[in-house]
Symmetry: D2
Subunit: 297 residues, 4 copies
């Protein structure tokens, strides 16, 4: 018998994920703060709940894709929240990127209801969610995760078992650390090169010709040269994630000298007004200082 699913959080990523679940034939109940968005999706063949608790009621698997820790406190842990509705034996999979403390709190509340918890932030873009090609960084019991692979595979191409609960969250921070550094490296490299008279295309060509090549440099380097800062992941969110990395470093006694400097560069980018643009707009902070523009010639 097909599993019953509760899905909560229909933002950019959540919409794609829920759509894939519905189309795969699961019995899905949706909840979203802005009701209308849930109702639109319901047309694809889902029910709509009035509260997170209601969406969770009777579900075998509940999936949440929210904005940040405060949203977790409200939608999962608060009154009429997911935890209230969880049945014994259910599995809650939280795909939100949060800090370790929030993950620990959720685990405690979920366990108290006799349910299981998997913290599973995702990597990938909006397109990845739509096409079912996200990568899940899943922290939790291996048998539990295996038991819901049919559900998770509807929206992901790869499930990485990070370790016990909390590991997904930790892995996402290590992953986003890489992402933030890569964009900053690309920015300093291109601004220095363009200031020296190079065409930015040539810099990108050199990068893509060696073993340091990465599809990410091609994507984001292209966006920068096209001056296209349409948001895939905003400056504001990257700055928030960097704060969580520094906080994890503090808790774990890990000095992170370069990440600390990267974080302040994104603080400068926010100060420049790039808050809601894609975080690769951080290049503009350096461009302004160097009085050049990394633009396709």
């Amino acid at each position: 018998m097909s599993k019953k699913i509760g899905f909560i959080g229909l933002g950019i990523m959540g919409q794609g994920m829920a759509t894939n679940l519905i189309r795969a034939g699961f019995d899905v109940t949706l909840y979203n703060r802005t009701m209308s968005r849930a109702e639109e999706l319901a047309a694809e063949g889902a029910s709509v709940a009035n509260t997170p608790a209601e969406a969770a009621q009777g579900a075998d698997v509940v999936i949440t894709m929210l904005a940040d820790p405060p949203a977790i406190h409200e939608v999962i842990l608060g009154p009429d929240g997911v935890v209230e509705g969880l049945k014994q034996g259910a599995v809650l999979v939280d795909c939100t990127t949060v800090d370790p403390a929030t993950t620990a709190e959720t685990l405690k509340a979920v366990t108290a209801k006799g349910a299981a918890f998997v913290d599973s932030p995702v990597t990938g873009s909006k397109e990845g969610a739509t096409n079912g090609e996200l990568v899940l960084l899943a922290g939790g019991d291996a048998a539990i995760i295996d038991g819901i692979r049919d559900v998770l595979c509807t929206f992901s191409k790869k499930i990485i078992h990070a370790g016990p609960v909390g590991s997904g969250t930790a892995l996402k921070l290590s992953f986003n650390l890489m992402v933030s550094h890569m964009i900053v490296a690309l920015s300093e490299s291109m601004v220095l090169g363009v200031s020296a008279g190079l065409k930015p295309e040539v810099i990108l060509e050199a990068i893509m010709a060696g073993t340091i090549q990465s599809p990410y440099y091609e994507w984001k380097g292209g966006a920068i040269m096209d001056r296209d800062f349409t948001t895939n992941f905003s400056t504001k969110l990257m700055h928030k994630d960097l704060t969580m990395m520094m906080s994890a470093g503090y808790d774990l006694n890990v000095p992170l000298p370069i990440t600390a400097a990267v974080k302040e560069l994104f603080a400068m980018s926010k100060a420049q007004g790039n808050n809601d643009e894609d975080f690769c707009s951080v290049v503009k902070v350096l461009e302004d200082m160097a009085n050049v523009e990394v633009k396709k010639t």
Copy 2:
């Protein structure tokens, strides 16, 4: 008629490059400070000169692959140096990674002899040199470079025309900036993750599963987890290159806040005694601080 080639500098990279030139059938005259190394290679079918000037005499193309700016001053610009031997109409291709000032000096001296100059640092490893798969970052006149493509192609799979003379040097600094940042990012990411209880293999798996993937992360991440710090590019040389990047930033009025921090992390790595190890040993600075080891489990 086949071109006559002078080749000077038979270090790790130079050996592979010269061997490819000889095997391609060019008439090559070698010079190396340590004579014996030139004599060994000569057995493959080359002549040996007693001075750089002699190696350059009568050559259509002279290729130099030296250590650093002081070596340029001695071997190219000094008494009995390459410039003394250059014939009118010859082309000097310097593959050394140097600073813009040294490139400018060489250009002036070469031009005064009625010869042409191409500054063309390379990217790629020792294996790349051996297999003829280096990437050349060539600065100089496009027609001049086109005219010697047959020579350059013996040891390179791709020639990127960076722009006028000096552009190759600038492009190499932008390129190595990326390289230094990537290793530092990988190091902070893995040390943070391992401190949080993750297996390093899992961190690398997550990195390689997304669009941020790069062959370089697989190579160097693997080396770190295997605790294999055999030198491909030494800490000492990366630190020197970072100094040249900062110097270029100073001259061009480009603030490089993150590269400045990266440079000091490599200074710490030197202080830790990793001078002659591969520069990815910088991870050990962070490991020591965090009291963990990023080791395959």
Copy 3:
């Protein structure tokens, strides 16, 4: 008629402050988690309470000198805490260094009881507390502060009115930012100089001979050269304060690139095992790297 005072928190600083209050003839009721310390001081002419609430009962002025935000939540805001005992019209003066959020919470709770709140972190050393020479950085209503000057002056030589409630906390963060930077500057300056062959006494002499002179450099420079890292203010606490500065910078959208780097240097100092030593032991991080010691000759 003399004011009735509740005093809570008899750590290094609190002891000196409370002693001065008692000797000035005020009617003081003491509370300390470790009861014995309160009983010793009571011999000087004070009462001892069993709970913070009891110490606050009937008091005109309650003074708290605690460790950190969690202590505030327990001792001031928790069950049997100060707020429970506050009478209408009383004034609570919190001398703890905390973050703006905690100050805001305390204000709300105190106001709800019809009492007034002054956040007043102090600057100065243990000796300053003993000799009544602390400087108070007081945030609150000017008239309220004026009304309790007789109380505050028993342990302070100067009361700076920072602004409305919350300003004392903010001012303390700006102040400690200076302190952290000064020690790091002194450390890099002396380690560089000693590495160049200078005697550390000569470096300090040069610093003290110019307008940049400061009693602080003489004090801490002397301690470093004497290798005396007896704690006046610990590495652990300075690192915690730096985290609060970075957090304030995040909330207020103020990039703090140098303070971010300073914070990580203290993280390295913690990693080196200097957690409970005086924070000027951060010099040892740099000494280890440079392989020198800044020691009196």
Copy 4:
């Protein structure tokens, strides 16, 4: 018999120093690239030379106060330079702030002429030069320095013997490192505090009330609040000095993570157009980011 003095370099500092020498009754011969400035001063009772060599001819003591290493190469070491004119047994005192390499070169040239060399950068302001209250950081033989105390005391209130030749240069770098950090600390502290709603006067009052007080904070804090960026020491020169510190750190294997970050903040200040303003204008970089102004209320 009074000593014969050659004085070269009549910039802001040099003018005051030379005037004091003349008024003390020494037999002074002046040289300055811009002749007219030397002629004005000559009216006070000095001779004017046509070349540096001529100013040095027959002099017992030659004092130079120049701009930077290139000026040393021209005026001291070049044709018709000071060294050409030096008599055997003379003493050359160079008060310019330079790098260790330049000091070493000058020493070699001076020694070859049978003369003695003292590298003696100064600390103090234009007013200090005028009032004879500079501090000399003198590197050289103690007996040599003692023998010319009567000369040096005309423009300095204190002569610190830093050690052998080269030590004055090293000490000046350690000193200016402090200066650069202090202004950056003051800037981050005040920008953070003002962003939190504090009056800048109150921040400065708190700083000046504790042991961290320094006349320098009062002076520069006042200038910042008055928005008076009249140059005493320019952004450009401080950035150049920071480059020399980093270069010394490189040569001596001393990581300087915070100074590296400080240097890039001054690079940003240059990029903002503050090149020729006083270096405390670096506060404007942070103000722009935080969208506040540290202005007297």
